[in-house]
């Protein structure tokens, strides 16, 4: 009986092995013209549910339809997004791993992390700009300033007492707050939080005084009067918050900040594949539903001239040049 079992079992095993062999041999190496023949992984170097993640999901869902292939969003969190970006930089450059980088991971990181394992402008093939989120200057509800001018004056006069919150070194709120503080010429205590949620919670509870953050989750609190917004760092006012003046109107024109998010592939990804991805992204940004979803978030959708690989390559270079001196002047590491 036992030997019969053994024979049947080993026969079954052999045939399973044989089937497996043929399957794996038939798969073969993927070529650019068949791309994409399997699931594409889009690494988002931030927590799921955050602004970059939401933009990635909205865009990837449409791209998947264009590419006729599933696009899986994988959140690889850590070290201000550089953990996920490093993984993407080191991934096989076959177009099946791409990354939704942003202002922090692909510009500010150069100055923030001396041992950064990748060069944002050299170790990636830029695919294209996806969408940006405007930055707001917000303060706790009983902050004693009516407008941005008073805010600046108050922060300058009381720098010692100020606590500026940010969502962790390398986050958008961190770098944009550095920008704000450097144009105000103050250096208050910067209190780090683990993400924008906890930082916002502390601002609502009055534990900290002010912060800079992306518009996404702030709108209801500003409308509800539980926090104060002093200015938005874009050229025009945002339809979601028509009463919030731009930084130029409010008298701080140097504060220009929008958190851009863009897709990158690892260096050496074949050009036809990058072009395919770039075209899919372009189509997504033209789709009505996608546009509506992004605009509802208060996002800024790039016009045709700011899309594509070339425009992104230029943006990355100029952003590195913009942020490096600001960060170097404020962070020692």
């Amino acid at each position: 009986m036992a030997s019969l079992f053994k024979r049947v079992a080993s026969k079954a095993l052999l045939s399973v092995v044989a089937v497996g062999l043929t399957v794996s041999l038939a798969a073969g190496p993927a070529a650019a013209q068949d791309y994409p023949s399997r699931v594409i992984t889009m690494i988002v170097p931030f927590a799921a549910g955050g602004p970059t993640d939401i933009i990635a999901r909205i865009v990837s869902e449409h791209m998947a339809r264009t590419l006729k292939q599933t696009v899986v969003v994988e959140n690889v969190v850590g070290a201000g997004g550089t953990t996920g970006s490093t993984r993407a930089a080191r991934a096989t450059n076959d177009g099946y791993t791409i990354v939704m980088g942003h202002m922090g991971t692909h510009a500010a990181s150069v100055a923030l992390y001396p041992n950064l394992a990748y060069k944002p402008d050299a170790d990636f093939e830029p695919i294209g700009l996806a969408a940006g989120t405007p930055i707001l200057i917000v303060a706790k509800k009983d902050f004693p300033a009516k407008d941005l001018k008073e805010f600046v004056a108050y922060v300058k006069a009381n720098t010692d007492k100020m606590n500026a919150a940010h969502a962790g070194v390398g986050s958008v709120s961190f770098t944009t707050c550095l920008l704000l503080n450097s144009v105000m010429q103050v250096k208050p205590i910067a209190v780090p939080f683990n993400g924008t949620g906890p930082a916002l919670n502390a601002l609502l509870g009055g534990q900290v005084d002010y912060m800079c953050d992306q518009i996404v989750n702030l709108v209801p609190h500003i409308q509800g009067g539980t926090i104060k917004a002093y200015a938005i760092g874009t050229a025009e006012r945002n339809p979601a918050l028509p009463n919030v003046p731009t930084s130029t109107e409010a008298g701080l024109p140097e504060f220009q900040a929008s958190a851009w998010n863009a897709l990158f592939a690892p260096k050496g990804t074949p050009k036809p594949i990058v072009d395919k991805l770039s075209a899919a992204l372009d189509q997504a940004l033209d789709d009505e539903t996608v546009r509506k979803r992004l605009l509802d978030l208060g996002s800024d959708i790039p016009g045709k001239d700011r899309r594509g690989s070339q425009a992104l390559a230029t943006l990355v270079k100029s952003e590195i040049a913009k942020w490096t001196p600001i960060i170097k002047a404020n962070v020692t590491n």
Binding site: A2, K6, V17, G20, L21, V23, S24, V39
Partner: protein
């Protein structure tokens, strides 16, 4: 097992009266020292702001104190002997896990699970050869069905040539 305290103190290493705690505390002390060494290059307090090294060093020092305390108490109060360590079970179970970790990428899920099952089962003295081979195949099939087909996890099942 309840009467371990009565073991004669004379047989013990260097007159340690509670070897279980003594050696346990000593190992914790060593871990704390290693952690201190590993964090020596991290910056500490800058004014009142914590650096990355502050908390790990703080906890290392506290752990060193506790470890030393446990070891010292173990030196001077009576306590049970260390239960003898088994070798076969731990060695084979850990070997199974390590083998799985090392070969799952190159050879795929099916051979790795099958082999890991067989190595692990050898850790038990009651293992029977035929039953083990069949059980390993059944478990492998079950895992493939569940994780690969059921949950759609992107595993590679077989070796790639």
């Amino acid at each position: 097992m309840s009467d371990q305290t009565s073991t004669g103190a004379g047989k013990r290493f260097l007159g340690v009266r509670n070897p279980r705690d003594f050696w346990g505390g000593l190992v914790l002390l060593v871990v704390a020292v290693v952690a201190l060494w590993a964090t020596k290059d991290l910056s500490g307090m800058q004014g009142f702001a914590f650096g990355p090294g502050t908390a790990p060093r703080l906890f290392s020092v506290l752990l060193a104190i506790c470890g030393a305390g446990i070891a010292l108490i173990g030196l001077f109060t009576d306590g049970p002997d260390i239960e003898p360590y088994a070798y076969r079970g731990p060695a084979l179970v850990v070997a199974a896990i390590l083998i799985f970790a090392l070969i799952v990428r190159p050879v795929g899920l099916v051979p790795a699970s099958y082999l890991a099952f067989l190595i692990a089962i050898a850790g038990s003295r009651e293992a029977k050869v035929v039953e083990s081979l069949i059980a390993a195949a059944a478990m492998t099939a079950f895992c493939v069905a569940l994780f690969y087909y059921g949950l759609g996890l992107p595993f590679q099942l077989w070796p790639r040539f």
